[in-house]
Amino acid sequence: MKSTSSNPLTFQELILRLQAFWAERGCVLQQPYDTEVGAGTMAPETFLRVLGPQPYKVAYVQPSRRPADGRYGENPNRLFKHMQLQVILKPPPENVQELYLESLGAIGIDLRQHDIKFEEDNWEAPTLSAWGVGWQVMLDGLEITQFTYFQQCGGIDLLPICAELTYGLERIAAFLQDVDSIYDIVWARDSETGKAVKYGDVRLADELQFSVYNFELADVEKTWKHFELCEAECRRLLESYAGLAGDKGNTDGFAREKSRFPLLAAYDLCLKCSHAFNILDARGAISVTERVGVIARVRALAVGIAKAWVDQQRTGPDERSTQAEPASEKKIKKEALSSVGS
């Protein structure tokens, strides 16, 4: 007895279907962020976009690196780098849960044939000073999605809040294809020859080599140096932004200075620090007494950037046009019960 369908989606079809689903519902399709992150949440498309009043809807795949989770490609369920499909809906529509369930239909899961549960799971990221409440979505006993209503990010209360849907792509693909090892997932199938390319073919070397590097060969001293350089540069930027904010009157020229200030670059540096910290941690190079302190240093950068970012969005003429699109809003099938009248 096989899973839902006799012809299950390949890994890349799964991604394409989910992207198409959310694109049709008004999401901007972003591409994976090109700096190492530990989770889709850390990409600026989430961390920075959730701040401030601007509505935004975005979906993107984010390869997420967690050096300590590496297993040299030997464990069938664990990866150093896994893929998340991240959806941010800001503000969350009233029927956000129903939309999510519909997206499962789009990847071939007939919910009538399965057991779905929303089980409490609250999320917290101390390095980002971010947290939210929500659920892990369980499909036949498998956690397939993290569903979170963000409440705070970078230490700032969010208004409006957003819903974050994080699909665990490898898990879902393994479920759909009914395979026991992630490495056996069919990534792509050549439509002419029918030949399958497996997840292992694409990524196994990646897993092995990065496990060796992160656990055995990463130079602790140089990684520390890397951390410190990025931290210093990030702080320098934050200090000069603070100088702008503290200075003079609110002239046009001053506003322009502020709005072109590279806070996005500062955030990249913060992400670099976070990744260096993860490598040092995997390497066992961070002592008990240091650990809390280092996390606090990364958090200080993230919180500083979030504050500055909100300030920058308020001051500068906002060149990023991110208006909600009423036309696409209408396309969303209104859930029959979403407005209950008396």
Binding site: N77, Q113, E120, Y149, D178, T289, S338, S342
Partner: protein, 714 residues
Amino acid sequence: MPDFLLEIGCEEIPARMIDAASQELRERVGALLVRERLGGDAITTFETPRRLSILASGIASTQEDVSEQVTGPSAHVAYKDGQPTQAAHAFAKKAGVDVSQLERVSTPKGEYLVAKVTRKGRSAAEILADSLPKEIATIYWPKNMYWRKPNERFVRPVRWLVAMLDGQTIPLEFDGIPAGSQSRGHRILTDVAVNISRAGSAYVDALRSAKVLGRAEREQQIRKALDAATRTIPGAQWREDRSLLETVVNLTEFPSAILGAFDSQFLALPEEVLVTVMRDHQKYFAIQDANGKLLPHFLAVLNTDSDPQGLIRHGNERVLRARFNDARFFWETDQKKSLLERLESLKHVTFQKDLGSYYEKTQRVQRLCSWLNEQLKQRGIIVRPGVVHKAACLAKTDLTTELVKEFTELQGIVGGLYARVQQLDTTLPEATRLAIADAIYDHYKPESTDDSVPRSLEGAVLSIGDKADTIAGMFALGLVPSGSKDPFALRRQANGIVKVIAEKKLPLHLRELMQDARTGYHKSQAEKKFVDDRKYLESIETFFRERLDFYLRDVCGYAYDVVKAVLGADSDDVVDALARAEAVKRVLHMPEFQAIGAACKRMRNILRQAEEKGNAPAVSAEPLPDSAQEEKNLFTYLQQSGANVEDYRKRKEYLPALQLLATAREPVDKFFDKVMVMVEDQRVRANRLALLRMLLKEFSTIADFSEIVTEGKS
């Protein structure tokens, strides 16, 4: 008398919070109905993950009118020459009546005008629409959120509301959502709106047809489904698990169950690991054979009606297989490094940010355990010091294993299991090695008041040492639990210490134990942040007294006043307090002790009042030539029986000691009947006060009898 219905429709409420919130909502609505004089007979609740509902019958459609008498100005101001003045007119206008309807009443202060005013009762719908939103908003949630405006908080977004009196909608609104008569059914099994025709049983019926069941019905349906699925395996039974059952009841709206299987080769893994994976991670029930041995099957509770194609079973089996494979992988990986080799890595595991690493904790606990061994040895209890020492050394090393990192709830247990299979030390005899393993395995026990204590004395010592070290460090840092704040579960750990001491009958003194535990931090980094010793000991004593109080009352079931009396005498020695509580409980029914309790209260009051007036008792009491006969008798009694009571007491034979004390009733009663204590003569008075003080002290060594509740005691 209409029926009332309120349904708060919500996104999935965390299972652990549903029951308490539902109960609170019921109490709130009940109190509201009473406060607003709206009657209401039976109030029942209906709760699922997606709704909290209240049903009540016999609601008054409107409040009864209330007539009140309002007092106005005095008559001589209100009337001049028999005519109403401006004051009378103003009062009549304010009260809403005609001047001619005003009446006069006589009061001690003279004659006053009154008006009889009728306040119209408001309609139930109006009151409920006004008040219910406030009640809903104030429900307590351990963690809540906002989704629209920051000041609108609930556990998860509220998506619909139903509020009705019979068939009529109550026009209320909560967080922007107007109440109506439309509910929603099961998420997957139905996809239509559920129209509620009227409040009352029609609501429950409508939901049942929409595949939504009430709590009790769900539990029943789950039990039946579990039984039915288990019956397919001859002789098998599912393992009853109350908290798991409550969880799955509150994770489902329309439950069913499936029986799944796993490869029997996984049974080679320890049962503890398999059960933890199934119960804590997958919320599955384990199945055992008639001898209690685990079978390679599991039961999963679903939130849907069936699994006709077996897809759900297949999926769950797949997940469990992966989990078990992981566990096996971790188990095998962990064996590459022995517990002994892991000791060093504890330097990298934080115990608490100010208290340093687990390596440092290990050293402290070893020291504290040696002290405990010594204390017990001096009091005639022999603990194998080598076993305790080695077990304490290895107890925390499993924190560095993959298995514990994955299944944190197995800490201690995994250490014990590994110690059992590993060669700890080639020179150790097998029995010693197993004793060490058992002590490690048990050292987190008891994890709750229902949990058992460590099996061996060595395990008990380690359990006490480990917990005392944690409590000492936290209290020294000033991190004392308060109210619902107890992030390090210090109360549970202290309850554990009390329970282990009590059940193992260990002659230990809490004060000494906690003083020595504090000594373990001597000259550590953390000490700079510590509160001073006096403050430390004070907070520790209060804390442990509360824990002992809890143990005697809630665990052993002793009455409130017995416990208060017993702990009033002393709360340092757990075993002794238990023995005293038992003795006091047995003699309490004797009329003598009812009288002695009253006498003790009287003595205490007299002594207190004397002290307040500056009347000091004599240094010691002695029979004076001019003493009353009753006074001399009491003195003689004290001298004769006092020594005997003391002998019993020293041998901890509290029952005979108390029985002997009971004979004091007669001389005491007679003394109070005939003798006046607070006489003019300073010498006589001081002597009598001294006598009372001696007597009170005599009575109070076993229990403070002035705490005994005398009235209405059977």
